[in-house]
């Protein structure tokens, strides 16, 4: 079985793109509201492919696939390294349970799907195809096309909500996305003009050479291009202060859509920031690493503050996304290896995975609660613990990972990040990460406290009367996602770090984590390290 999977791995690169494109087109032909079974079956196959790919990358290093057989710089290369394989795994691992959830969510009343779900399946297929293509591409112009594919599909999904607020949110999202991709495209144009290539592998030495020979015209153009591309991508990643479009779009869309967007779509452009920042643009941007860190700090504080004060449940979860995305920008000055041996990009991947699983679960749970009560104010969750115990447990579990409590994946990521920050002497970062965890606890316990309120018998009776049925399958899928987010810390973390950093790199992590769990830490030994 494993041998057969290993043989499949090189084919997984193109198949992870072609397969979702194919089922999305088929779902489009099938018509409104159809194609859910097709999507779920295909997502299962994709998950298997992503697993095969990840294990092959772990054993044998990065895999390449030259589209058209030409090879860069003339053709377009697909490359799956550890980081890409991890993101592909995240995408498929979140997509499969979410699709099963969406099927339950949209098809509540038998055969006729909810109007909001009429065009969910083809759009979701194109969205997944776009994200998979984005993770695999190593060509900066091809990445522009994938960014647009992901962006337009996401805008379409937000608009499928139907109301005026959703239309306004979709438009705002669309303009932010277009402004972002326009800036990115100009950056690509300048880089092509300066160096004559759009392949990252070709550009990396050329940019390094240009920036080494100071005073050359090419390095100035490259710097402007790098800043344009980063500004565009940060706009798409909703990093503070570009986050203005995210809460209405994520907070207003139907629950399965919110979950897809918050868990996966924003990660795609952040992945690209990381890939370019640590890759071809590194010589130009490294002196500016403090800037995203500053913005990330602001995002954590501001997003948490707004989540604490949000009136609507889904808006609370959406602002929590703004805050959690901030963590992904904290570690840019920490590039290099920390005391436990995990690199900054491996830790960021772990955080992205933990947040992706946790946030998908939380949006799904919020969607179930809103569907059951028919209202979406935070105050309306009062007494929900008695009616939807499983869903509330899901919400709490997802919260555990977002707050960074052990043993969740969120804990492992934040712990490693603190460890790395201490190893480098970046004490303010430690304070920010701890404060972010506390603030997350405040807004999550705000919901949980209300949920356990004892309502008067009469109110409960009345509520039961109004309650709408939420399919059990939907509840269980949300729970699966939350459980996966927590279990990631126990079982998935180490292999994941090894996948991103290469085998052997994560050796010190296990001992580091266990010693870290002991109160008093081992930090004394770590602080003095350079």
């Amino acid at each position: 079985m494993t041998e057969r999977l290993a043989m499949l791995a090189p084919l997984a690169l193109p198949l992870l793109i072609l397969l979702p494109l194919a089922w999305a087109a088929l779902a489009f032909v099938l018509g409104t509201g159809r194609g859910s079974r097709l999507a779920i079956a295909a997502a299962a196959v994709q998950l298997m492919l992503a697993f095969a790919l990840a294990s092959a990358v772990m054993d044998g290093g990065p895999l390449h696939h030259a589209a058209g057989g030409w090879g860069a710089p003339l053709g377009i290369d697909l490359v799956a390294d550890g980081l890409a394989a991890a993101m592909l795994l995240l995408t498929q691992a979140v997509a499969l349970p979410l699709f099963i959830f969406a099927r339950g969510y949209f098809h509540q009343d038998g055969a006729r799907p909810d109007a909001a779900g009429h065009h969910f399946w083809p759009l979701a297929g194109f969205l997944v195809a776009g994200m998979n293509a984005l993770y695999l591409s190593e060509d900066i112009f091809n990445l522009y096309v994938t960014l647009e594919l992901v962006g337009l599909a996401a805008v379409g999904l937000v608009a499928s909500g139907g109301g005026a607020a959703q239309t306004a949110a979709a438009l705002r999202y669309l303009f932010a996305a277009l402004l972002g991709s326009g800036a990115y495209l100009l950056g690509v144009a300048l880089l092509y003009g300066a160096f004559g290539s759009v392949s990252m592998a070709t550009l990396t030495p050329l940019i390094a050479g240009a920036s080494a020979s100071a005073g050359a015209g090419a390095s100035e153009v490259a710097l402007i291009a790098a800043l344009l591309m980063m500004a565009g991508l940060l706009m798409k990643s909703a990093l503070f202060p570009f986050h203005f479009w995210l809460p209405p779009a994520h907070g207003g869309a139907p629950a399965p859509v919110s979950a897809l967007l918050s868990a996966l779509v924003v990660k795609a452009s952040i992945y690209l920031v990381l890939r370019l920042w640590l890759g071809p643009l590194a010589p130009l941007l490294t002196p500016l690493a403090w800037l995203p860190t500053l913005l990330g700090t602001a995002a954590i504080l501001w997003g948490s503050w707004r989540a604490i004060h949000a009136e609507r449940l889904k808006l609370l979860v959406a602002y929590s996304t703004v805050a959690q995305l901030g963590y992904l920008f904290l570690a840019l000055p920490l590039v290099g290896v920390g005391s436990t041996g995990a690199s900054a990009s491996a830790i960021l991947t772990l955080q992205a995975l933990a947040h992706g699983l946790g946030k998908a679960a939380m949006f799904a749970a919020a969607g179930i609660i809103i569907h059951a009560t028919g209202r979406d104010r935070v105050d309306d969750v009062a007494g929900i613990a008695e009616r939807l115990p499983l869903t509330l447990f899901t919400f709490a579990l997802a919260g555990v990972s977002l707050m960074g409590l052990p043993p969740s994946g969120g804990f492992l990521a934040k712990w490693l990040l603190i460890d790395l920050a201490m190893a480098r002497g970046h004490w303010p970062l430690v304070a920010v990460i701890l404060a972010g965890g506390l603030l997350a606890a405040i807004y999550i316990f705000r919901v949980l406290r209300l949920a356990f309120l004892n309502l008067p018998e009469a109110v409960i009776e009345a509520e039961h009367h109004k309650a709408r049925v939420v399919p059990r399958s939907a509840e269980w899928m949300a729970f699966t996602l939350a459980a996966a987010s927590v279990l990631l810390g126990l079982f998935g973390g180490l292999p994941l770090l090894q996948l991103v950093d290469g085998v052997g790199a994560g050796e010190g992590v296990t001992s580091g984590v266990t010693s870290g769990l002991v109160p008093g830490l081992t930090s004394g030994a770590v602080v003095g390290a350079p």
């Binding site: 306004a168 326009g182 003009g193």
Partner: protein, 123 residues
């Protein structure tokens, strides 16, 4: 400076003008037009800069064809959404989105009384 570089310079100017338009213009239709100007500017830089020595380069020309189709797709989607927003709220002015999003929680499509741009939103 070669004459061919003029195209790239014009592209930079168009991009800057378009980007400022996307940020500044309130009416959504104008914003779509500004975005198109911005995109055209980026495409002009892509083609113009690559052939600044006067010899045409087919690779960026093909990329620009791709870019144009993507821009058509985005424009079509934006126009459809603007038209729907106009049908639902009676205006197509980006200025009050904030209030509209805050004021409504997704279900209704009531008209904010304070706002009226009938003359501009129509046609």
């Amino acid at each position: 400076m070669s004459g061919a570089l003029l195209y790239a310079i014009a592209g930079v100017l168009l991009f800057a003008a378009g980007a400022a338009g996307v940020v500044l213009l309130d009416h959504l239709l104008r914003r779509v037009l500004a975005f198109n100007i911005m995109g055209s500017g980026a495409c002009l830089v892509l083609v113009g800069l690559a052939q600044r020595n006067g010899i045409p380069d087919p690779v960026p020309q093909a990329m620009v064809l791709t870019g144009i189709v993507v821009a058509v797709a985005a424009t079509g989607l934006a126009l459809a959404l603007i038209r729907r927003l106009h049908a639902q709220t009676g205006h197509a002015d980006g200025k009050t989105e904030e209030e509209r999003v805050k004021g409504e929680t997704g279900a209704g499509c009531s008209l904010p009384a304070s706002h009226s741009v009938a003359g501009r939103g129509d046609d």
